[in-house]
């Protein structure tokens, strides 16, 4: 996923890039997370200052939304849909299998740092559940084999690049 190490200068650049937008807070947080894989605590005061908000306010925004992470994820992120349509197709059993296979819980990263597992409520793929998203690759009619196959492929791509 190409996550960069923290850089205050780079953060300032990203903040400046989005600051002119009206209601710039979410676009800024998204940009930071895309760059650093999470919203580092160091970024909060920078965002607060740029938007003329208190740190508490920015922290409040970061913590309100499910998307924003406070720590860096593993090299790949697997989101499993847990919503009703996927439940009807065995999403809960799949989640249990994935957790057991990779030794991770939701919001957790495997010990080897390869995989972060996150729950998601609906990917709009509800006619072909269970659904998942590995990084930005959307997967339908998912079972454990399919997850393993795609993860192996992503890891292989990573070694090549």
């Amino acid at each position: 996923m190409g996550v960069m190490p923290w850089s205050a200068a780079r953060a300032a650049e990203l903040i400046e890039q989005h600051r002119p937008q009206a209601g710039a807070c979410l676009p800024i947080l998204h940009a930071l997370q895309e760059e650093f894989g999470h919203v580092p605590a160091e970024a909060v005061p920078l965002v607060a200052q740029a938007l003329n908000l208190s740190r508490a306010e920015v922290h409040g925004v970061v913590s309100f939304y499910h998307d924003f992470r406070k720590t860096a994820p593993g090299r790949h992120v697997l989101k499993l849909c847990r919503a009703e349509a996927c439940q009807a197709m065995g999403a809960d059993a799949l989640a249990a299998q994935v957790k057991a296979r990779f030794g991770v819980d939701f919001h957790d990263t495997s010990a080897d740092g390869k995989l972060t597992l996150e729950p998601v409520f609906c990917l709009g793929n509800c006619a072909c559940g269970p659904a998942a998203m590995l990084d930005e690759r959307i997967l339908g009619r998912v079972d454990l084999t399919k997850v393993e196959f795609h993860l192996a492929r992503h890891l292989a791509d990573e070694r090549q690049s």
Partner: protein, 516 residues
């Protein structure tokens, strides 16, 4: 040059459409074939995806579901001429599942190249705006009112009346906000349009802007839809390059531009006031109404907030006239509804039909029953806040009032099927858990009540003191219904009580051996 179509819709991609497109491109190149691959959206026949099509003199012939391994065989069988093959579906338009539909809002979805303005216009695009540009704002609003169009985001509020309020408001700036948060499980209509017909939304928003005097629009897309987000951003950029957004649109004096924003994974941001807070860069906490967003919305200015399907339906109404739309439907539910068949369904996908079609027709004729082949036990309509109906109520029509009369709701038109493996007590627990996780936190019945609801459901599921706990659950639901500020807390009792009403056997758990 022969044109081949391989969908780039998320569901098709989730079933390897990209790999199919690559295999096809490679094979065509190797053969030196004169053929072009167009990446269309999906027509919504998801059990056939990836569904590839080839343009022949007789019409578009479909094949599906195709895997990359099928590609050599397909080409050998004369794919480019629509040749015979075991995956051949015949003329796509003639597939009964599609032929029986009444596609107005989704007329172009899956047919055109989503990013080609030329394709869009060749299929009737921008006729609605051209018509609107000849009308006074009030006349545009009147047309939408006369069409009977009601908001497709869930509440079913008449769109024309909302627009009229914004038109009548005095302000230096007004906004059009498109709600593309599509949070409900079992729904994907918004996503399909973003990926399959984005200019339809751009045209609809432009007409809305013209109608109420707004020059700026925002589209708030949920972050769970990265493909839709990317496609729509590109569509906006193209439209701007081609003079369809920006100043002096289509040579008129009218200016309108659109900004695309990404949500951040909060269901509550689908509620309009929470969405506005989020667009303003804040926590998505509900605002008290009044003031209505129509009068004090985004940045305190008069704002139209409409669902994506609502806005994408407007071009048809302007182009074909209010009557052409109003003639479809039943009672006070006019026009067509894009129903989304999901969950444990054999033939899942998007069915656009006039209001009034029964659940049975949708589930059995279109859906073909459950995917597992086991008996259908329950269907949840209208997302996580919608009721669970039993198979005995399948003669209900899809209509706002008819579903409300049975203590259900239509919501965004999502239908989620469950076979007899479902445990409705667990589904009721999930509804409470969902409310607890997604509550914006402003009011106690929702924030705390839902957590208590999960605890009560846990006791019921464990068979502890079931009768008393069920009574407590009913009480709690009453408090949540009456005491919540918005529909998240206010409607969570719907799935819970419907499960209890229609599936009481699932709540009568055997008394746990080690209960006390």
């Amino acid at each position: 040059m022969t044109r081949l179509f391989v969908p780039i819709d998320s569901t098709a991609l989730s079933l390897d459409a990209e790999e199919v497109a690559e295999a096809l491109a490679l094979a065509l190149k190797r053969q030196g074939a004169k053929a072009e691959i167009v990446r269309n959206g999906s027509r919504g026949l998801f059990w056939l995806e990836p569904l590839i099509e080839v343009e022949t003199p007789a019409g578009r012939v479909g094949y599906g579901p195709v895997t990359p391994d099928d590609v050599p065989g397909l080409l050998a069988a004369g794919l480019l001429e629509g040749g015979e093959h075991k995956l051949r579906l015949g003329l796509v338009e003639e597939i009964p599942w599609l032929k029986r539909q009444q596609r107005l809002t989704f007329a172009r979805c899956g047919i055109i190249d989503p990013l080609s303005l030329e394709d869009y216009e060749a299929h009737g695009g921008y006729r609605g705006l051209a018509k609107a540009l000849t009308l006074e704002p009030a006349a545009i609003v009147d047309t939408v009112t006369a069409s009977g169009l009601r908001g497709r985001g869930g509440a079913g509020f008449p769109t024309g009346i909302k627009w009229k309020t914004v038109l009548g408001a005095q302000a230096d700036q007004k906004y059009i906000v498109c709600n593309a948060d599509e949070g409900d499980s079992g729904t994907f209509a918004d996503r399909m349009l973003l990926e399959g017909d984005p200019y339809g939304l751009i045209e609809g928003m432009t007409i809305a802007g013209l109608a109420v005097g707004a020059t700026r629009g925002f589209v708030y897309i949920r972050s769970e839809y990265p493909h839709a987000f990317r496609t729509f951003k590109r569509a906006v950029a193209n439209a701007r390059d081609e003079g369809r957004l920006g100043t002096k649109i289509l040579g008129s004096d009218f200016s309108f531009d659109i900004e695309v924003r990404l949500g951040a994974g909060a269901y509550i941001c689908g509620e309009e006031t929470s969405l506005l807070e989020s667009l303003e860069g804040k926590r998505g906490v509900i605002r008290f109404k009044p003031p209505l967003p129509a009068l004090q919305g985004l940045f305190g200015k008069p704002t139209v907030v409409n669902n994506l399907v609502t806005l994408s339906t407007v071009p048809f109404i302007l182009a074909e006239g209010a009557e052409a739309y109003r003639d479809f439907g039943m009672g006070r539910s006019r026009g067509t509804l894009p129903v989304q068949l999901a969950g444990n369904v054999k033939r899942g996908g998007l069915v656009e039909l006039a209001f009034g079609v029964t659940l049975d027709t949708l589930i059995n004729d279109f859906g073909g029953g459950t995917a597992s082949g086991r008996p259908l036990r329950a269907v949840q309509i209208g997302g996580p806040l919608g009721a669970y109906f039993p198979a005995s109520l399948l003669d209900l029509p899809m209509d706002y009032e008819a579903l409300a009369a049975k203590r259900g709701m239509l919501g965004h038109g999502g239908m989620v099927l469950f076979d007899d493996g479902v445990d409705l007590a667990r589904q009721a627990r999930f509804a409470m858990e969902f409310c607890a996780v997604e509550s914006c936190g402003k009011c106690t019945p929702c924030r705390i009540g839902s957590t208590r609801g999960v605890e009560i459901m846990d006791r019921i599921i464990a068979g502890r003191d079931v009768e008393a706990q069920t009574a407590l659950l009913r009480d709690l639901c009453e408090v949540m219904t009456d005491g919540s500020l918005c529909a998240l807390g206010g409607l969570t009792p719907l799935p819970v009580l419907s499960a209890l009403e229609h599936f009481p056997e699932d709540f009568k758990r055997p008394v746990a051996a080690a209960a006390e």
